[in-house]
Structure formats: C-alpha cells, structure tokens
Symmetry: C2
C-alpha cells in the first residue's frame, strides 16, 4: 500500500450502529495504512450505552462531549467532557450516556482487522 497522510472531517466517514444504541465511525484503520492502532469516533445518545463486554485488547478513550457513567471492572466513574479513560484488556466495561455523548476510542490495529476484516 502507498501510505499517504490526510486530514478529513469525521462526517466524511459513514456511521455504523453499535450494540447498546450508539454508533461508530472507524476514522483511521489498517485500510489507510495505519500500522499500530485505529481511531474511532463513537456517539452515544442520551439513555443509550456503549456495548457492555470485555475483550483481550485495551481501549484509550477521550470524552469530547456529554456526561455519563463508565463502568470498568467493578468500579463506576462519573465522566464528562475532558475526561479520559484507560480500559486494559480483559476488563468488563460499558459507558451509559446521561446526555448525548461523543468520544474518541482507540484500539490496537489487530482489533480493527479482526472486527472489520482485511
């Protein structure tokens, strides 16, 4: 692949539905030539949640808008704009939105390949 740099607006990428009522845009993936990690933008409407699950890879999340409650393992955290979250692999996690939320969520490129395919 001839890997090229770029700058785009998030809404140039299609949104896909997520279990729990949110939606996700895969902004940068292996298909762009990203070698190590993948950036996604997730929107969660008020009252909805991100998927409640656990997996072998980590998340790093930054909250851009909104308020909610994050569960990581057996701990709850009140979160809002300007919070960041580290969710290590094998930790159960979910985020419940108390207002409309918008967040960046990064995963290892291996997870992007597993979820999206090559």
């Amino acid at each position: 692949m001839n890997v090229k740099g770029f700058a785009k607006r998030f809404d140039e990428v299609d949104a896909m539905p997520l279990e729990g009522g949110g939606f996700i845009r895969w902004l940068i993936t292996h298909r762009d030539g990203a070698p190590t990690f993948s950036m996604r933008l997730i929107n969660v409407p008020k009252g909805k949640s991100t998927p409640a699950h656990s997996h072998d890879y980590e998340h790093e999340i930054f909250i851009i808008e909104g308020e909610g409650t994050a569960t990581i393992g057996n701990k709850n955290f009140k979160i809002s704009k300007d919070f960041f979250l580290f969710i290590p692999g094998e930790n159960y996690h979910t985020i419940k939105a108390e207002t409309d939320m918008k967040m960046i969520c990064i995963v290892p490129i291996k997870a992007a390949i597993d979820i999206l395919g090559k």
Copy 2:
C-alpha cells in the same frame, strides 16, 4: 505492573512545553500499563505551532477545538474542530494554530518510552 483501568480529567495531568509554543499532557502511557499506544492532549495557542519535524512513527490526531493549517509532507490542509489527521511515519508535519487549538494525538508506545523513558 498491576494494570488497572481508570477515568480522570485531563487537567489532573501536568502540561509540559512543546517546541513551537504549544504544550502537551501525556494522558495514558506505558507507566499506566498501556501496551500498544499512548494518548496525549496537545494545546496550541493562536499563532503557535506543533513541532515541525518528521520521525519513524505515525500520529493519529483528532481536533477538539480551534482552527489551523496542517502540513503533512508537501501538502497543506485547512483543519478545524471535528477534523482527524493520519500522519504516517517519515512524513514531515506541523500544525499552525490560527485560533487556540486543542487536539488528541496518539503515538505508538515505543515512541512514548523513547521520549519519556521507562
């Protein structure tokens, strides 16, 4: 290391000056147990820039606030809130802020270890 998940506000992390007039907060690093990539928050005041340089690792950036111009290789991009950037390794790059800017910038964990030390 006993790796634990957490949620924190960005201003719980100290800001460090960046060449070009901005400042950086290393939000999540290997010191937290992050195995693959590191999340930083960068603020660039109006008229200042991120470092103008190139290196062997990639950046994935999301613009949270502000407007400016990104240079990637020999291309310029007008960017503002809600833009995302992929800067592959070995590409010269800089972002010049035309208003106060705030952005998330992710790097591979190897870069975090090289820059911060173990």
